[in-house]
């Protein structure tokens, strides 16, 4: 072996994966630590503000704790590389921001079609195009759901604190493996560049849900690599395990072989969507308070939710009947809960503050005919509690 192989460390020398304890930590670093705690094997990425600290942190931590880090030539390559590593069995991650996220869309579609689990952290900045790289945005939320061509299901978390950057990155890996989908951790520049207390649990307390393995051994009859179980998710065999799998972005049958038939296509694409849609109750997460008697409900996420929750508490203190739903998964969206609140009859209006021109407002409007008030900024700054409070009082 060449000299450079000496850089690989033996198991005894490895740094700990899980930095159990209480830390004062940057959101981007918390995302990286969450990935490490979740068992990250492979990171491929390309520097981009404001996500670069994820890569920088992993450049030292990941190889030192037994994983592999590659800085790629661009985001197209980064996304392709984490899919390849995933096909070979790795828990894989990339981190990026808007312009890079756009470049990744091509292979995000591939990951959805191959059903290769992987995690993409997108630290959103003011967009479109180059926008304001160093300032906050929340305008990739619909792109996360619909960005690659065609229909497919995905999962997206939206952390509101460095602690959640850690916790939700762990969840993202588990959800990716459980449902064999690309999963997004939709951070924003403020959360990514915020330092707060992050408590990292003991290694045995880090939840782990791995991939379903084939029930047969290699060579024991034909393994149908795309035959789903009842949960619509097929067990996964990796490169080098002897199953001789074939994976293609072409429409494929249960063998994984290209099958250019409208019926096959319809069955496959419906399953890719349904495996998330029909399991939404298991995946969807939100947090709510003061909703039971509320006539006004604020729906918010990410850094904006921090201002929104301050405004809602202040409004309650003033005697206003206002409640809040904070999204933890933005996709799946808490459709059921919003419909339920509307059906209860107390709610008269929704307020959706967000750092884009109304992307999630559309989603709430889709679910109700009640007024949905907007509080938008195109990016670069977050709404203040006062601005949201003023709208609640109106």
């Amino acid at each position: 072996m060449p000299d450079s192989a000496c850089a690989m460390q033996t198991r005894e020398e490895l740094e700990p994966r899980v930095l159990t304890g209480s830390h004062f930590m940057l959101g981007d670093h918390a995302c990286a630590e969450g990935a490490l705690a979740a068992g990250l094997d492979f990171f491929a990425g390309y520097p981009i503000t404001p996500s670069t600290e994820v890569a920088e942190h992993l450049a030292s931590r990941l190889p030192a704790s037994g994983g592999r880090f590659v800085q790629m030539e661009d985001e197209l390559a980064s996304m392709a590389a984490i899919i390849g590593a995933s096909a070979a069995g790795a828990r894989s991650l990339t981190a990026t921001s808007g312009p890079g996220f756009s470049l990744m869309m091509e292979n995000i579609g591939l990951a959805a079609m191959l059903e290769t689990p992987c995690v993409v952290a997108n630290v959103q900045r003011a967009s479109p195009s180059t926008g304001i790289p160093t300032m906050v945005g929340q305008s990739d939320i619909l792109q996360a759901r619909w960005g690659s061509h065609g229909d497919y299901g995905i999962i997206a978390y939206c952390p509101a604190s460095p602690q959640e950057c850690f916790d939700l990155t762990v969840k993202a890996f588990n959800a990716a493996d459980k449902y064999r989908v690309p999963v997004f951790v939709m951070m924003d520049e403020i959360v990514g560049h915020m330092m707060e207390r992050v408590v990292i649990p003991q290694p045995q307390d880090i939840p782990f849900i791995g991939r379903k393995k084939p029930k047969t051994r290699p060579g024991e009859g034909q393994f149908l690599s795309y035959r789903p179980d009842d949960d619509l998710v097929p067990p996964m065999a990796h490169a080098g395990e002897g199953y001789k799998v074939h994976m293609t972005g072409l429409t494929h049958d249960e063998r994984g072989y290209p099958a250019m038939f409208p019926e096959t296509h319809d069955i496959l694409v419906n399953r890719l969507v349904d495996k998330i849609r029909l399991n939404a109750a298991d995946i969807e997460m939100h947090e709510e308070f003061d909703c039971d008697d509320a006539d006004t409900i604020v729906v918010s996420f990410g850094c904006t939710a921090r201002s929104a929750s301050a405004a809602v508490r202040q409004a309650r203190a003033e005697g206003l009947k206002v409640g809040m739903i904070r999204l933890i998964t933005v996709w799946p969206f808490p459709e059921g809960r919003i419909r339920e609140l509307v059906a209860q009859g107390d709610v008269k209006r929704f307020i959706v503050p967000e750092i884009n021109l109304g992307q999630l407002r559309r989603e709430v409007e889709r679910l109700t005919s009640l007024p949905v008030l907007r509080l938008n900024h195109a990016g670069g700054q977050m709404p203040t509690p006062d601005a949201i409070l003023e709208l609640i009082r109106s």
Binding site: P2, D3, S4, A5, A7, M8, D41, F42, A44, P63, R68, F69, V70, M72, E73, D74, L76, A77, S78, A80, A81, I82, I83, G84, A85, S86, A87, A88, G89, A90, S92, E106, N107, G109, L110, L114, P218, A239, G240, E241, G242, Y243, K244, V245, H246, M247, T248, G249, L250, R255, Y257, P258
Partner: protein, 276 residues
């Protein structure tokens, strides 16, 4: 006819590399006279003759006619997006360094839409073998000019002939850091198989360009005739020059009958491969 005793009962019912092909995917999509089948056959033979068990071999392709290669070999095989076979393969090769990763894809896939990945994979010296099938055209989409189309050769998007300087792929691979660089044609089956086998036993980024007829997309438009005619051109004009040091001078001109085509194993150096 001499008295050869053909005993049908004893005739073989299988071929020695049948198990390395996905027979349940046949018939294939390739046109009569296409050279891609010969490339797949050569790769399968190289696997059979390699010291590594079949389960250790992984094949990755991009998009296009050549990109269908991965779909016909009976090893773990992946059909990635257009141009992204190399970074996809990098993910496999870095995560599972014991696997023998071979990328089979076309000249358009690897050097046009995937050109950036090609130069960076070579620069990083990723442990993999790249078989670049060069048919001088975009075959799957029906014969458009590409990054390797010789100046003057016609394509549906250059009806008066290509005007852009084509890539000289071995020169490009050498310049960007490949540790093994060869050019063969599908006529040179033995030499090509041997080159693949050498790459499987070598560390680092190994690049083989293999010239292959596309009678439908290229031969017809350029009055070369069918696949056999293009192979005849290879036979008449190819000169084997192992270790040639003037790779800058080995451009290909299929149209001019006076121009030779240099083939051979050109580069074989040692350089530390990527260790992430």
């Amino acid at each position: 006819m001499s008295a050869i005793d053909i005993n049908v009962k004893n005739a073989p019912t299988s071929h020695p590399i049948d198990h390395l092909l996905r027979a349940d995917r046949l018939p294939h999509i390739l046109c009569p006279g296409c050279g891609i089948g010969t490339v797949v056959h050569s790769y399968a033979h190289a696997i059979a003759n390699s010291d590594f068990p079949e389960d250790q071999h992984v094949c990755v392709s991009g998009i296009g006619c050549s990109g269908r290669a991965a779909g016909y070999v009976n090893v773990d095989s992946y059909h990635a997006t257009h141009g992204r076979a190399l970074p996809f393969a990098l993910g496999i090769a870095v995560h599972r360094p014991e696997l023998k990763v071979t990328v089979i894809s076309g000249d358009g896939d690897l050097s046009s839409i995937g050109g950036n990945h090609l130069i960076h994979a070579a620069r990083r010296n990723v442990n993999m073998t790249v078989i670049c099938i060069n048919n001088f055209t975009y075959g799957m989409t029906g014969g458009q000019v590409g990054p390797t189309t010789p100046i003057g050769a016609k394509g549906t998007t250059a009806p008066k002939g290509a005007v852009d300087q084509p890539f000289n792929l071995p020169y490009l691979a050498q310049a960007t850091g490949a540790t093994f660089v060869a050019r063969w044609t599908i006529l040179h089956v033995r030499e090509f198989q041997d080159a693949i086998l050498r790459c499987m036993n070598k560390e680092g980024f190994c690049f083989i360009e293999v010239l292959s007829p596309c009678p439908t997309g290229f031969g017809r438009a350029n009055k070369i005739g069918d696949g056999l005619h293009e192979v005849e051109i290879y036979r008449e004009r190819c000169k084997i020059r192992h270790g040639a040091t003037n790779l800058q001078d080995i451009d290909i001109d299929l149209i001019d009958p006076e121009k030779g085509i240099t083939v051979g194993n050109f580069v074989d150096i040692d350089r530390p491969p990527l260790v992430a």
